[in-house]
């Protein structure tokens, strides 16, 4: 199975990213996207850290084993849109 690296961008610039040193083996890119959304949902719901004021401003920049960006998953995709109806 391919290994994907879930780098977490929390602010602009080279220092605003938490680089994933280990990665995770997943079936395919779709599975990687699902994994990113589940992780984002869990962090938004119950993780508090000094580094992040607004989780919905964060983005997963997913890379493959050759350090090529293969997908970008905004945390905002993990939460349903507010219903203003």
């Amino acid at each position: 199975m391919p290994r994907y690296y879930f780098n977490l961008r929390y602010r602009p610039g080279s220092e605003g990213v938490a680089v994933d040193p280990e990665g995770e083996e997943l079936r395919d890119l779709e599975a990687a996207q699902e994994r990113a959304l589940a992780a984002a949902r869990d962090m938004i719901a119950r993780t508090r850290t000094h580094l992040i004021r607004d989780w919905t401003a964060c983005v997963f920049e997913i890379e493959d084993e050759d350090a090529q960006r293969v997908l970008t998953v905004p945390f905002s995709d993990a939460v349903p849109n507010a219903d203003y109806g």
Partner: protein, 237 residues
């Protein structure tokens, strides 16, 4: 025949025993080399041995519905299996396994209980130790409820640091995430936060403590209560 001498043991409980109490246990101790992730106690299965860690340490985890979170840590200050045996439950709902490999001194339940029944001083020390374990569990509950992931990581690193030789802790982000009950990305963020404050240095698969005093300050009171009680009750500080 066992050649284990009290003068050379590294386990802090065994070091504190009187010569007479150590002599009650000594013939029954045998050395066990431990491996990473080796299970020491299975949940809900009878505890057959107790283990005094000499090198390395064990994690106590709650594994419910596939969610594993660390709820306790036992190194050379402690005794794996103390609660179910001394409190006469025989089993525990938790999984206890080797988080840092090394060496432990194992003793079967029957001779351990016979020694505790025979010696009031041994029993008293063991009950005092159990009190410090209760405090550790309560402090973990407090830390989980009251502090951010970064602070909890600082506390956890300090607890590991207390139980290793030197300043290096062998650990992956995946394992930190499991222990703290957070996503792997969350563990990476917390490591980065502590590294950014020059408290630790992260390498692939390991962390180095750079500024222990800084980590204690960062832990903001989540670390230290258990350790002070241990010093007071076990080591007479």
């Amino acid at each position: 025949m066992s050649s284990i001498q009290q003068s050379t043991v590294r386990n802090r409980l065994l070091q504190r025993l009187s010569g007479e109490d150590f002599a009650l246990l000594q013939p029954h101790l045998r050395t066990l080399q431990t491996e990473l992730r080796q299970t020491l106690i299975h949940p809900h299965e009878p505890v057959t041995h107790l283990l005094f860690p000499e090198v390395g340490y064990a994690s106590i985890t709650s594994d419910v519905a596939g969610n594993r979170v660390e709820v306790g840590m036992i190194g050379r200050e402690g005794l794996v299996g103390a609660s179910p045996v001394l409190l006469d439950s025989g089993t525990t709902p938790y999984h206890e396994f080797v988080q840092s490999p090394g060496e432990m001194l194992a003793i079967e339940v029957a001779p351990f209980c016979a020694a505790v029944d025979e010696s009031a001083t041994l029993r008293k020390l063991m009950l005092r130790y159990l009190h410090t374990k209760l405090i550790q569990a309560r402090q973990t509950a407090y830390a989980n409820a009251a502090f951010t992931m970064d602070v909890r990581l600082a506390r956890w690193i300090l607890m590991c640091h207390d139980r290793v030789e030197g300043d290096e802790i062998v650990i992956t982000h995946d394992f930190i995430a499991l222990m703290l009950g957070v996503q792997r990305s969350g563990a990476t963020l917390a490591v980065q936060a502590l590294e950014g404050s020059q408290l630790i240095k992260a390498h692939r698969g390991r962390l180095t403590v750079r500024d222990r005093e800084g980590l204690v300050a960062f832990a903001n009171g989540s670390y230290g209560t258990t350790e002070a009680e241990y010093a007071r009750l076990i080591e007479g500080a």
